[in-house]
């Protein structure tokens, strides 16, 4: 277990070093994402005024945008890492790790979670300041819900990363996943039961209930939270399963590290 902690520490340190050393780049990413948010919120308000509808859905939009961002960053931590490490020539070293690639990617995801958390919190604060809305930011309730929701993103990341290992250079297709994630955040999983089975959707609905509706984890009910985690785990395992099939295919074809 100590070795696994050392592995996690190594990834945390690497993430921090790169984040700090390339802070201009990190800042640029934040500004870009903030500008995108301004465009989204501006477009939304324009459409709302044009259609003559009202309501408090700006809160929902802020939550949806920030959650989508977190899911996208987590998804990319897996799929983008597998692709970029193959491009840079270090993927084979990750494969030769004595921990096994599953643990290595797990450590990478957890380390990335903290970096992404900084990014998401900063953008959330900026979004709240810009829109003037208030949200219930109950960290104790939100943390397990966010973790459960992101399991689905990790699963999608493994599946897409695995497919990229085999098919190579399919960026134009994998970019569509970010739109898929928007749909997964936006579907009404709170009202339509079967949509709770989609990756991330159930968690997204529960997070909205906490942040917009002001409910706590206890009020959501243990059953709901447990079901959300279960669905997330299933998606994680399915994604990892797809990845392992692709990995085996890539190893048989001798194209594991090629890109």
């Amino acid at each position: 277990m100590l070795k696994k902690l050392l592995l996690l520490q190594a990834f945390l340190k690497k993430e921090f070093i790169v984040f700090r050393r390339y802070w201009v780049n990190s800042l640029g990413s934040m500004i870009t994402l903030y500008v995108i948010f301004l465009l989204v919120i501006g477009g939304f308000q324009g459409v709302r005024a044009w259609a003559g509808v009202g309501g408090d859905t700006v809160e929902g939009l802020v939550v949806g945008y920030v959650l989508w961002l977190f899911m996208l960053a987590t998804y990319q931590d897996v799929s983008h890492t597998l692709r970029s490490e193959a491009q840079e020539g270090t993927l084979e070293q990750l494969y030769m790790s004595t921990h096994g690639l599953g643990w290595v990617m797990g450590a990478k995801v957890v380390a990335g979670f903290f970096t992404n958390l900084v990014l998401v919190v900063v953008l959330l604060l900026a979004a709240l300041a810009t829109t003037g809305v208030t949200l219930n930011v109950d960290f104790l309730s939100l943390l397990p819900l966010v973790v459960g929701t992101l399991l689905g993103s990790v699963g999608i990341g493994f599946a897409i990363g695995g497919i990229t290992l085999v098919l190579k250079r399919i960026d134009s297709y994998t970019q569509m996943v970010q739109f898929l994630l928007i749909a997964l955040v936006a579907v009404p999983a709170g009202r339509v039961l079967w949509m709770r089975l989609l990756p991330c959707s159930y968690g997204s609905a529960l997070i909205t209930r906490v942040m917009v509706g002001g409910e706590s984890l206890v009020q959501l009910g243990l059953w709901n939270v447990a079901a959300m985690f279960f669905v997330g785990l299933i998606h994680l395992l399915l994604g990892f399963g797809v990845y392992k099939i692709c990995e085996r295919k890539a190893m048989l074809a001798g194209m594991l590290g090629h890109y």
Partner: protein, 319 residues
């Protein structure tokens, strides 16, 4: 330390390309503390074999044992005994410094960077990276990046180190330094090193033993010394002032082992490969017949490049 038995690998057909048998039932073993050259022309199957030794490619059949551990069925425990530099200077993170790279890869291989601090400092100094320890790897010269990649492979404390083209693209000085480092590491640490290279000078200078593969099969497995002896031929290079007459050219070209080249209107070069010493006298006799002026006669050194080419050529003809 390494035992390979009847290893086979066929890449499946795809996109209209037929299946390719890259490795065709090879078997060999490597002892602890041995520096082995694993050679072959492009497409001979050496990179496939090395990647199978790293657990990165699954063989179709055959067995690989690393320090007694079955790599095919117990990949993770076996990999604790193996480290590799497969992509040259691309095996490291360019946005991290040499120290940070060594610390990261130590943890990746299950080592504690804190406990290895002395080793990390040792390798940084040993590989002349001490002054650059806090400089991002992307800013280092190619030679330094290559040395860092090798240091990263060594920091894992693995007993077996696989190096794919460790001197590729390096200048003479950097290549020489790496050769010396490899010799010292084997001597001092008793590690087993397998290297693939196209640079026969590297092989001749560093390797105790070579395995040469061609078309997926082993065509030679012997010490460098024995192979040099086996293929020892005497080749003389004769420089002549001016050009030869047509009758001289005809007589020389009719002789086996004679190659002629008109370097310029003022000079002709003749290479004579001697199967017996009588041939040299016959060549000189032909030159004397028209009073050609001999500028010099030199004996060429036998080198491993020639040995390699002879073996590969022989292997292809035999196949």
């Amino acid at each position: 330390m390494i035992r390979v038995e009847s290893l086979e690998k066929t890449y499946p057909s795809r996109k209209g390309h037929p299946a390719v048998k890259a490795v065709d039932g090879i078997s060999f073993s490597v002892q602890e503390g041995e520096l082995l050259g694993f050679l072959g022309p492009n497409g001979a199957g050496k990179t496939t074999t090395v990647k199978m030794l790293c657990g990165l490619i699954k063989p179709n059949s055959g067995q690989i044992f690393i320090n007694g551990i079955d790599l095919v069925h117990r990949r993770i425990p076996a990999l604790a005994e193996v480290s590799a530099v497969l992509e040259g200077n691309r095996n490291i993170y360019w946005r991290l410094t040499p120290r940070e790279n060594l610390e990261f890869f130590a943890a990746l291989r299950g080592q504690s960077p804190a406990r290895l601090r002395a080793d990390i400092d040792h390798y940084l100094e040993r590989f002349n990276l001490g002054e650059k320890r806090d400089v991002e790897a992307r800013k280092l010269s190619r030679g330094m990046q290559q040395k860092l990649a090798i240091a990263v492979a060594l920091i894992s404390q693995s007993k077996v180190v696989l190096l794919d083209e460790p001197t590729l693209g390096l200048d003479v000085q950097a290549s020489y330094e790496i050769r010396q480092l490899l010799i010292e590491i084997v001597k001092e640490q008793g590690r087993t090193i397998i290297l693939t290279t196209h640079d026969m000078n590297v092989v001749q200078d560093t390797c105790q033993r070579v395995i040469i593969v061609n078309e997926g099969r082993i065509v030679a497995d012997d010490s460098v010394h024995n192979l040099l002896d086996l293929f020892r031929v005497r080749v003389y290079s004769i420089k002549i002032q001016g050009q030869l007459t047509p009758s001289q050219k005809g007589s020389l070209l009719a002789m086996e082992g004679v190659v002629m080249e008109e370097e310029s209107p003022d000079r002709t070069s003749i290479s004579v490969r001697l199967e017996d010493s009588q041939i040299l006298y016959e060549v000189i006799g032909i030159l004397e017949s028209n009073h050609s002026i001999i500028e010099s006669i030199d004996q060429d050194q036998n080198n491993f490049e020639r040995v390699f080419l002879e073996i590969v050529k022989g292997g292809s003809q035999g196949a």
